[in-house]
Amino acid sequence: MIAIVKEQLTQAGNFSLFIGRFFKEIFVPPFQINEFLRQCYTIGCKSLPLVSITGFIMGLVLTIQSRPTMTKFGAESWLPSMVSLSLIREIAPVVTALICAGKIASGIGAELGSMKVSSQIDAMEVSAVNPYKYLVVTRILATTLMVPLLVIFADLVGIYGGYIGYNVHGTITMRRYFSEVIEHLDFLDLMPATIKTFFFGFFIGVIGCYKGFNASSGTASVGLAANSAVVTASLSIFIVDMLAVQITDLFF
């Protein structure tokens, strides 16, 4: 029992050190710009199809599902703004982040894990390349930057999906629909929602890297690293989301 607690505390300590190292190394040259851009490309562009499809479906389904209730209250005209608000404030950020946790965190965990297991990280270390800087800092920066962009993209596609969904049972012009949406959108809807996505991205990157970087030897540990990266990242997204909502509630 004590051993388990001790193990957990050690883990937490190591994880904090890992994050601390990120903030220390990010400001020290040399900066690995090329690798950073390459990661942005892999993380951003390659997740785009997945994020678009899910974003579209979220908007579509949400509209179709909410319609009966809204009609019952005679508030059908509110549908566009209600759907886009729930997309922007909550659903698109969380669902997109979860998808990224599945795709990106597991990818990073597996990649770094297998580099660790096959001594490639050690090989970097002995050729005087700082592997933390080259592999970890670039990836965390890339996820922190790309996840918010992906979320914004999912917002847009989701709202478009809502437009299609609206037209399944009713008719509305594109112009009318979007002016409905924009009319009810507030700066305060966008701001906190966007800020929290940076944290989602950060945690996806940090957890993926931490799990991969600390994989123990043996091929089994690569799978384990990828697996626990997804689980931990998904959990952390919910926790960050909950905190974000509490904080937003407090201030606005």
């Binding site: 580099m115 490639q120 050690d122 005087a128």
Partner: protein, 257 residues
């Protein structure tokens, strides 16, 4: 051969939890010397050389390379030393997301900045030529055979012109002919670049070809050291057992001497 020690180890201790792997190794290596380390699997050979380049932290002991104790250096100073050292990993450890060319470029670029493209290209070709694998330049590591990986890994090690090279089992897992080719490559690198080498191996032919001094590690200590000839004729049963199997191989007809 100059007589200054380039590596000087005093009382190196290393344990993983209760598993005491190294229990006080002391060793000096002179410049230009080619030292072979022998020992049973799991005797801590890899651990010892990993401590020497700072991949593992020694529990206790003095580890001097080029006259500086690396256990007392910070990360930046340690990296300065590492720039003068080559390390060939047991499994090759090529960066498998990069092609052979990128593997070499990556190592070279981080070794010295401000190299021109032509200069880099020239050095890559030279290194690949040394290992006889120029045609593999645009291949990915996954497309290479085990022997080719070892050779590319050797090319990546020598491209930075290190003063000391550590080889961790350079011939393990290869057929005898390829193993001998690798041993010859090591020999030619030793001649061409005048490096000091530390070679871990289980392959007695490799040991005989590439080493001018051999140490045997047993139970975390240096059990015995000497030249190949001296150890081969040793009366110690345990030492003899290392040479016995090999001699049987060598006695078989058609085996390259």
């Amino acid at each position: 051969m100059k007589e200054e020690p380039i590596i000087n180890i005093k009382n190196l201790y290393k344990a993983f939890g209760k598993n005491k792997v190294l229990k006080g190794i002391s060793l000096t290596v002179k410049k230009g010397e080619d030292l072979v380390i022998l020992g049973r699997s799991g005797s801590g050979k890899s651990v010892a050389i990993k401590c020497l380049v700072g991949l593992l932290k020694a529990d206790k002991g003095k580890l001097e390379i080029f006259g500086t104790d690396i256990t007392k250096l910070n990360y930046k100073q340690l990296n300065k030393i590492r720039l003068r050292i080559g390390f060939m990993f047991q499994n090759g450890a090529l960066y498998d997301s990069m092609s052979v060319r990128e593997n070499l470029t990556f190592t070279l670029k981080h070794h010295a900045d401000h190299l021109t493209e032509e200069n880099i290209e020239k050095q890559i070709l030279e290194a690949l030529d040394s290992v006889g694998l120029i045609e593999a330049i645009d291949k990915m590591p996954s497309e290479l055979s085990g022997g080719m990986i070892k050779r590319i890994s050797l090319a990546r090690t020598i491209i930075i012109k290190p003063e000391i090279i550590f080889y961790d089992e350079p011939t393990a897992g290869l057929d005898t002919i390829t193993a001998q080719e690798i041993s010859e490559l090591i020999l030619s690198v030793q001649k061409k670049y005048k490096t000091t080498s530390i070679i871990i191996t289980h392959d007695m032919i490799c040991a005989k070809m590439t080493g001018n001094r051999i140490i045997l590690i047993k139970d975390g200590l240096i059990y015995v050291q000497g030249t190949y000839k001296e150890l081969e004729n040793s009366s110690d049963q345990w030492v003899k057992s290392f040479f016995f199997a090999t001699n049987q191989y060598a006695a078989a007809p058609g085996f390259p001497a």
